[in-house]
């Protein structure tokens, strides 16, 4: 009869709480990474080509723009010694990152409403995570471009190439600044999604992605070079691809600081707006 009286051993909850407590900083970094990795994964799950899309997409855009611009429109109009197809490819890869990162961060807050409304964590996390997931695609694309391009002699590697990391930092700061600004405002003004799409088109042509910078008439060059994206892409080309085109500094002269200042202003503005709006996200989404 003993068996009748014995109750099965109850699951004791104590075994479910173990381990050290992580610091807030490590928790935040961890959450950022988990969100970035999972959105990177989700972007490509369910599609036949999977991750390959992150490569195919810029290549297709490159193919199209190459035929339209390099083959038809700009034939014979690029500077001597210039390697325009590689400049175009680099421009497209960098631009794809810029567009992906900013577009996905527009909805980083509003699109994660379920989390923002139901859980507390620093609000910048989803924004930074969405820029990071675009960064992963950029890293894959750049790595592939190097792997193919270096043996083929596409690149002109020299001392100037050392500037490249700084240019990527500038690009990332710009992207995060825009991301913070747009994601915070998008919660309150939903038209911003459309506005940003159109602005991107405008910026695309205003950043000399699909044509060499030198094609711009002299008197407009400075104006275009004030645009940080034009400056970043142009300087990356100069640092990586060819030394026959000018640095943005050579075009801007004493105004060299303007695009860098613009990046700083965009970041500061984004940071300020985001910080002011963030406490209200929970009740506004």
């Amino acid at each position: 009869m003993l068996t009748d009286i014995q109750t099965p051993p109850r699951e004791r909850a104590s075994q479910y709480f173990v381990g050290e407590r992580a610091s807030a900083f490590r928790s935040n970094v961890n959450l950022t990474r988990e969100l970035a990795v999972s959105s990177f994964k989700l972007k490509y799950t369910g599609s036949v080509l999977g991750y390959a899309w992150s490569l195919v997409k810029p290549l297709l855009i490159f193919g199209m723009t190459y035929i339209v611009f390099a083959v038809f429109l700009l034939k014979g109009r690029t500077s001597k010694g210039e390697n325009f197809p590689v400049e175009l490819l680099l421009g497209i890869v960098v631009w794809t990152f810029f567009a992906d990162a900013t577009v996905s961060s527009v909805s980083a807050i509003a699109g994660n409403g379920h989390m923002i409304r139901k859980a507390y964590f620093p609000r910048w996390i989803p924004v930074v995570a969405s820029t990071l997931s675009a960064t992963m695609t950029l890293a894959v694309n750049m790595a592939l471009m190097f792997a193919v391009g270096v043996p083929l002699g596409w690149f002109h590697i020299g001392w100037a190439t050392l500037l490249l990391p700084l240019l990527f930092v500038e690009l990332y700061v710009l992207v995060v600044g825009i991301g913070l600004l747009l994601s915070a405002l998008f919660v309150f003004y939903r038209d911003l999604g459309h506005v940003w799409e159109i602005s991107l088109q405008l910026l695309f042509y205003g950043s000399a992605i699909v044509f060499p910078f030198t094609l711009i008439p002299q008197r407009f060059r400075m104006l275009v070079a004030f645009n940080p994206m034009a400056q970043i892409v142009e300087d990356m080309r100069r640092a990586m691809v060819t030394n026959v085109i000018p640095w943005s500094g050579q075009i801007l002269g004493r105004w060299t600081f303007v695009p860098i200042l613009a990046v700083a202003v965009v970041f500061a503005l984004g940071f300020w707006v985001f910080r002011r709006r963030a406490p209200r996200f929970g009740e506004s989404i």
């Binding site: 109750t7 479910y16 709480f17 050290e20 961890n30 959450l31 989390m115 939903r190 911003l192 929970g282």
Partner: protein, 412 residues
């Protein structure tokens, strides 16, 4: 002296409900000078309280009373318009189950994602994954996508992740509303463990039964104001008085469906017929989960179909595995049933001031027999299942109500 884990002082939260559409750029551009018009809603109006460490605090009130808003203020999802909130230690960052889960990802991936929202690192979670899957009973489904799970599986996974929260103050919004009695027992086990660890729990619910069962103390909110603060029993009964005709479905009695159970194993000649069997808790509500040592009343509704001289009502209490625990009846209990006319209806009740059973599932059989107990008018085997919860982790089947004492000779 206890240390306050939560201190809330004069907190006000106002929501501005826009009266016009100002959330588009078009409106902003076409009405550049109009200051938007709002209707103010005082969701939380001047609330002050503090809770000591280790307290299990319930917050209740009718819909729209501000209880969820108050919880969101405690969690920092909302910021108060005035007043201060201070919480000692870390607050659990989420209120509901499954925050951060993505249906397109596998159970394993969701553990890492949901765990990250809780503030746990990948390394910490990697160690816990097997335990989480085991607790959720989903070991074989670790790599299946969440979207292919049943809702019960999803809730189990979410709960198993949620209890990993490494926080001193846990905030929960209606987590008990989901899940069956078994899930609730798991919740209770976890809560009991939290209490042992001296963590503070704030539970928002309008399930008064659960509040009575779990909470040391309950705050009652109405229209943003706190109108009562005290022991769970007092406040929940006050709530019932104030709200008056609170409908029964608000106090979600889990699966007390006598109708379906009445169709189980049943026999008898039906001169007297049992029409319904209910279990009532101390708040007067039908329930199927009771705390060990708590009040329970069994009520049997009956109708008389043909004249009978003498009849006896009886109950059978069995453990889920069939062990007979008790079989009280009106005859041995000294309650004589008077002869009745056909068509008569009545209710007979059996009151247990303190259910001295320990945590387990129990089955109830209800019968009505002739006075010699050899002819069944109506016999319904296992008409109801109920559950007893015990927060003391005692082993066995019954509380013998013994007391420990000690005498000792001093040693060398």
């Amino acid at each position: 002296m206890s240390v306050a884990a939560i201190t809330v002082t004069g907190v006000i939260k106002r929501f501005r409900i826009p009266l016009d559409r100002s959330s588009t750029l078009k409106y902003r551009v076409t009405h550049p000078l109009s200051s938007s018009r709002y209707r103010d809603l005082l969701a939380v109006n001047d609330i002050t309280f503090d809770a000591p460490r280790g307290q299990f605090l319930g917050i209740t009130g009718p819909n729209g009373c501000g209880k969820s808003t108050l919880l969101k203020l405690l969690s920092r999802i909302y910021v108060p318009d005035s007043g201060t909130i201070s919480v000692a230690g870390r607050v659990s960052p989420f209120l509901e189950l499954g925050v951060g889960f993505n249906p397109e990802l596998s159970a394993r991936e969701n553990i890492f994602l949901g765990g990250a929202v809780l503030g746990l690192t990948r390394k910490q979670l990697a160690v816990r994954v097997p335990r989480i899957l085991e607790f959720a009973e989903l070991e074989e489904f670790a790599d299946q996508k969440l979207k292919n799970f049943s809702s019960g599986m999803g809730v189990r996974l979410a709960f198993a992740v949620a209890i990993q929260a490494d926080a001193d103050v846990l905030l929960m919004d209606e987590v008990l509303a989901v899940g069956d009695a078994r899930f609730q027992e798991k919740c209770f086990d976890v809560f009991a463990e939290y209490k042992r660890q001296n963590r503070t729990i704030v539970l928002v619910s309008h399930d008064l039964g659960s509040l009575n069962l779990y909470c040391d103390r309950v705050l009652l909110l109405q229209n943003g104001r706190m109108i009562a603060d005290g022991p769970a029993d007092d406040v929940t009964s006050q709530y019932r008085r104030i709200v008056g005709a609170m409908s029964d479905d608000d106090t979600a009695a889990p699966s007390s469906s006598t109708e379906s159970a009445l169709g189980s194993e049943r026999w008898g000649s039906r001169e007297v017929e049992i029409t319904e069997v209910r279990l009532i808790d101390q708040t007067g509500h039908s329930h199927t989960v009771f705390p060990a040592g708590g009040y329970m009343r069994v009520e049997i509704d009956y109708v008389v179909n043909s004249p009978v001289q003498d009849f006896v009502f009886g109950l059978g209490f069995k453990r889920a595995d069939g062990v007979n625990l008790a079989g009280p009846n009106t005859k041995t209990g000294g309650h004589r049933m008077e002869p009745v006319m056909p068509g008569a209806r009545g209710t007979i009740s059996y009151t247990i001031p303190a259910v001295d059973l320990l945590a387990a599932s129990y089955k109830l059989t209800a019968v009505v027999y002739n006075s010699f107990l050899n002819h069944a008018f109506d016999h319904i085997e296992d008409v109801l299942t109920f559950r007893v919860l015990d927060d003391k982790g005692r082993v066995g089947m019954v509380d013998l109500r013994g007391e420990w004492a000690e005498t000792r000779q001093p040693g060398e």
